[in-house]
């Protein structure tokens, strides 16, 4: 199958299965592990924009996200053999991205320095399911508009949940925090967001 990236114009020659279905990220990652560079370039094409958008939500200066992207993909390639192709690829690459963005953030601001976080050290078991709000356009709009006004501790899980569509467990894997803490941060972040947005 020939696939062309409409933005960059780069042409990929990717094998598809018998039903002509595009290979999943996990299949592509398995191919990369075997040395398929074309598969890697397709993964880059699939994730570039998503990671830039994610970085823009984390960093105060959006142009910085672009600079980090190259490093994220280089690390992805370097560590690809540690990826278990039986698991989902997206939380894995977002975890690399999270670390890179946070490292950059640490250089820029004290905001990222959380040696001790009570919400992580005393995680809650309650997992309040707010799935009904996940598809709520009004909430999504609010997250999109006011997200940069709240603390990164809440900003990141909210962005991953509402804008990137990850589940609590996946967000926990990306941020390296218990799932219970993810649910608490999302609930608290949403409450803060509602107050801030309504003020504006």
């Amino acid at each position: 199958m020939i696939e062309t990236n409409k933005r960059t114009g780069i042409v990929y020659n990717i094998a598809v299965d018998d039903n002509n279905i595009q290979p999943s990220d996990e299949v592509l990652a398995a191919k990369v592990q075997k040395g398929d560079v074309e598969a890697f370039s397709l993964l880059v094409s699939r994730y570039r924009q998503k990671l830039v958008r994610y970085g823009n939500k984390l960093l105060f200066n959006p142009s910085e996200a672009e600079d980090v992207i190259q490093e994220i993909f280089l690390k992805t390639y370097k560590y690809i053999k540690s990826f278990n192709a039986d698991k989902k690829f997206s939380p894995w690459i977002y975890r690399i991205a999270h670390n890179e963005f946070i490292n950059l953030g640490k250089k820029r601001s004290r905001e990222y320095l959380d040696f001790f976080d009570p919400e992580t050290f005393f995680p809650h078991f309650s997992l309040k399911d707010i799935t009904e709000e996940k598809g709520n356009l009004q909430v999504k709009e609010m997250v999109g508009e006011c997200l940069d006004k709240i603390d990164i501790k809440y900003r990141e899980p909210l962005a991953l949940y509402y804008l990137e569509g990850f589940a609590y467990k996946e967000i926990g894997e990306i941020l390296n925090i218990p799932t219970g803490t993810v649910s608490i941060r999302i609930a608290r972040g949403l409450a803060k967001l509602k107050i801030i947005c309504n003020k504006d």
Binding site: N5, R7, T8, G9, I10, V32, Q33, V37, F40, S41, V44, S45, R48, E66, I69, Q70, F73, L74, Y77, K78, Y79, I80, K81, S82, D117, T120, F121, F122, P123, G172, E173, N176, I177, P178, T181
Partner: protein, 247 residues
């Protein structure tokens, strides 16, 4: 355009070998190293915990509580603080290694640390119940235990200005003579207020005396004997002198 150029640059780096993926063996080796480190840190934590329990139960430390408020300063000073601090460091290392580096997926939480403490406590108590430390102590006394022998010899009977240990000799109604391991003899004066938590002592008993020195005589607040098999620090050469007078 910049996006295209960056992507081409990236692929170029891969094709020219400037960017390389780490081999599977690197990750397997790293995981193996982590497992071995966790195992060793776990074993050391259990060893330290069981040693602390062994020391507390066999050095007469726990007996200090029988002397009431007078025994409290001695309890504080004789507590194996160094072992406790090293143990705490090992527990934190264990928590970090297990929960942050093994891919379990999150930073150590209170619950995970409690879980590790419970596991170390259970295994530590089980080891302390065996004759493991008693055998090690005997070997340490005979200078037949390299490296950790010093740990066993370094503890011994509790260390405090008000705690004296040795063998009771010349026992009479008004007191006895305490013969310390370094050969000195201390007259011990016992009165009606002197406590005997386990009962009266007899000639030749390994004893611990809580008291204060005045004019070369020791006025005893309390006297305890250690005839039990478990009081190993007090049995024979178990008295290693850290709590002896003059140390």
């Amino acid at each position: 355009m910049e996006e295209q150029s960056q992507e081409k640059q990236l692929l170029e780096k891969i094709k020219t070998g400037e960017a390389k993926m780490l081999p599977k063996s690197y990750f397997v080796g790293r995981t193996a190293l982590l497992v071995v480190t966790v195992f060793l840190a776990g074993i050391l934590a259990i060893f330290l915990f069981s040693f602390a329990v062994f020391y507390i139960s066999s050095s007469g430390y726990s007996q200090l509580s029988h002397f009431g408020a007078m025994g409290l300063p001695g309890m504080f000073l004789s507590f194996p603080w160094l072992t406790a601090i090293v143990l705490l460091i090992f527990l934190l290392i264990l928590a970090y290694l297990i929960f942050n580096s093994t891919g379990i997926g999150h930073k150590p939480s209170l619950y995970s640390i409690i879980l590790i403490i419970i596991v170390v406590t259970l295994f530590g108590l089980a080891v302390a119940k065996t004759s493991f430390h008693a055998r090690f102590l005997n070997r340490a006394i005979q200078n037949n235990l390299p490296v950790i022998g010093a740990v066993y010899r370094g503890y011994g009977i509790m260390h405090s200005d008000s705690i004296f240990s040795g063998t009771a000799t010349q026992v009479n109604d008004s007191g006895f003579v305490l013969e310390t391991e370094n050969g000195s003899e201390i007259p011990v004066v016992c009165g009606s207020n002197t406590r005997y938590p386990k009962g009266k002592i007899i000639e030749g008993d390994p004893v611990m005396v809580l008291g204060s020195m005045s004019d070369g005589k020791l006025s005893a607040y309390g006297v305890n004997y250690f005839r039990d098999r478990d009081d190993i620090y007090f049995q024979g050469r178990g008295m290693m002198g850290r709590g002896m007078m003059g140390n």
